[in-house]
């Protein structure tokens, strides 16, 4: 008999035997997923309003290069990916004030970073599973020190965002008027890039550099389909990101497949549902306009 054994495939993808024991074992991963969801969902709103989805991808490739170099030279994956993404974020922040410049800089940086990362991995003598994990995620690998560093960096990002929330919104949606009103648009932009670099670095460690967009962009994009309230959108975006990550981890527990397909699939499914809701609202002519009183 040739072809795929469907029952075997199913048990590879979904397997819930000894689920209770596994949950305890992977408690760290679930906490990491929830924290990451909050960070990604929150910063994703600004990624969308500043039109920086491509920048996120570029930063994550350099973060991958940094992580690979960290692995090769024994500096540590976390440290390496942090350095990689902050360097990338600052380069993009300083050189790419205009979106046209920014896109070309990212397009130049991205393959270079990816190539550098692949070089470092090729030279690394260790297990190949670790290497693959940097690209596609490795949820099992969250030990206590790593979880602590992830939570610490996440707190920096979230608190940073909450402090600059209002002027950053102003500068993102209405830069000319914000500048006229005394908002330091350039400074905010660099601070935002630093926070984005941190957020990408923590995400890369869990979901892998190829799939960072599913955490930092897709949930916010989905939320923007169903609301334009500046309060509802960030809340929904965080909810979607947490659902994708925690849900993905829970589903991935038993299977032998990497975690990322679960996360990206849930995240994508939420986006599709939001688009359908938006389309059906548009068909019914719901726009939020009210009669002039």
């Amino acid at each position: 008999m040739n072809g795929i054994d469907w029952a075997d495939l199913w048990s590879q993808v979904f397997n819930f035997s000894d689920y209770g024991d596994l949950i305890v074992l992977l408690q760290n991963s679930i906490i990491a997923g929830a924290v990451l969801g909050i960070v990604g969902g929150l910063i994703g709103v600004f990624v969308m309003s500043r039109d920086m989805a491509f920048a996120v991808h570029g930063i994550s490739e350099l973060s991958f290069a940094g992580a690979s170099a960290g692995l090769l030279f024994g500096v540590g994956v976390v440290e390496g990916s942090l350095i990689g993404s902050i360097v990338a974020a600052l380069i993009i922040g300083f050189l790419g004030a205009k979106s046209r410049d920014r896109n070309s800089i990212i397009a130049v940086l991205m393959p270079f970073g990816l190539g550098l990362g692949i070089l470092c991995l090729a030279l690394y003598p260790g297990r190949s599973a670790n290497k693959f994990g940097l690209l596609t995620g490795q949820i099992v690998a969250v030990d206590d020190p790593r979880l602590n560093s992830l939570i610490a960096i996440s707190i920096v990002v979230v608190v940073g965002l909450l402090v600059i929330w209002r002027p950053l919104t102003f500068a993102s949606v209405d830069a000319d008027v914000a500048a006229a009103r005394g908002v330091s648009v350039q400074t905010l932009s660099i601070v935002f890039m630093l926070l984005l670099g941190l957020a990408v670095a923590v995400s890369v460690q869990v979901v892998g550099s190829l799939l960072v967009l599913s955490i930092l962009v897709t949930p916010a994009a989905a939320a923007l389909r169903v609301s334009s309230s500046p309060i509802v959108v960030p809340l929904l975006s965080m909810l979607f990101a947490v659902l994708s990550l925690v849900g993905g981890i829970m589903l991935a527990l038993g299977g032998s497949v990497p975690i990322s397909p679960y996360v990206t699939t849930i995240s994508f499914a939420i986006y599709v549902v939001c688009r359908i809701i938006a389309a059906s609202r548009a068909r019914r002519g719901i726009s939020g306009r009210q009669a002039l009183v």
Binding site: V45, D51, T169, V177, A179, S228, P230, G288
Partner: protein, 308 residues
């Protein structure tokens, strides 16, 4: 959409507390102002005042430094020489008593922003922290929305609004903080004629009600011709200021440009023909560098075209 008619604007002026002919206090004062980028001198020895309640249109060829003048007033650009005071003190960055209305740009779809949020940014967008809902803030935003006739689409995503609706919101946004001076940088650009009319009349109504000084940069004076008190015309490094009848004359503009220019008045419109192409340099600005020079876009006579 509610369109403010000329009658309601006039009625508002009669209701204003002080008569139009009484001398008003000076909001903005420029003395010996000069602006130079390297070798290129945009203007020099600029002297003018903007008084409370006065509508001053700023005209001039591309690259004559109209937008740069606004940047100086906003404290984003330093004068090369001379002084500029706002309400008696030197201009500073981020003064809350100066409102700013830029040209209409299509709002991005990627931002969670409703009409009321755009206006609210004018109220407290410069402060740190979260935009927490407060009753006082909500009331202020509601009042501003109502004052520009935008209550109807307060909760609609800005990206789905028309250009005219977006500019209405911008007028509301600029009025937050109770400004005494309103700077408008081509606010009518890319609007159709009806919206040009509606938005300029809205600005006019508020300057009469609130006694606002208005500095209105435009490449086309016609939509605001009957509202303008004075015209500041920048060209050839120099300037003229006066009523539209004093400045928009063939001999005045010919002298200013140093070459023959015809000003044609027809059916209540002003058309300037024969303006030399001054756009070899630029303002130091990205926008409206390639706009037609003071002319009526609807007219048959192209600016800079052959003179009749």
């Amino acid at each position: 959409m509610k369109i403010f008619g000329a009658k309601s604007a006039r009625a508002a002026s009669e209701a204003a507390p002080s008569p139009r002919n009484a001398p008003r206090h000076v909001v903005l004062r420029v003395r010996g102002g000069a602006l130079q980028f390297g070798e290129r001198r945009l203007w020099h020895d600029l002297d003018f005042d903007v008084r409370a309640g006065e509508f001053v249109a700023v005209l001039g060829a591309n690259g004559s430094g109209k937008s740069s003048l606004l940047k100086v007033i906003l404290g984003q650009q330093q004068l090369s020489a001379g002084t500029m005071t706002f309400e008696g003190s030197p201009v500073t960055r981020g003064n809350r008593r100066i409102g700013y209305i830029p040209q209409q740009k299509l709002a991005d779809e990627g931002a969670p922003l409703r009409g009321r949020d755009l206006v609210a940014l004018g109220v407290d967008g410069h402060r740190f922290g979260l935009p927490l809902p407060r009753a006082a803030r909500r009331r202020e935003v509601d009042e501003l929305l109502a004052s520009v006739g935008a209550s109807e689409y307060a909760n609609v995503a800005v990206s789905t609004l028309s250009g005219g609706e977006q500019q209405r919101l911008r007028v509301g946004q600029s009025l937050a903080g109770d400004p005494t001076l309103l700077l408008c940088d081509e606010p009518l650009l890319s609007l159709d004629l009806a919206h040009q009319r509606a938005v300029s009349e809205l600005i006019d109504t508020h300057r009469r009600q609130r006694d606002l000084g208005v500095l209105f940069v435009t490449h086309d004076i016609n939509p605001v011709l009957d509202m303008v008190d004075r015209v500041l015309y920048l060209a050839g490094g120099s300037f003229r200021i006066g009523t539209p009848d004093e400045v928009l004359r063939s001999e005045v503009l010919s002298e200013l440009y140093g070459s023959p220019v015809d000003v044609i008045r027809t059916r209540g419109r002003v058309i300037v023909v024969g303006v030399p192409d001054a756009s070899h340099g630029h303002d130091g600005h990205h926008h409206h560098d390639d706009d037609p020079v003071v002319s009526d876009p609807g007219s048959a006579a192209p600016s800079g075209g052959p003179r009749s």
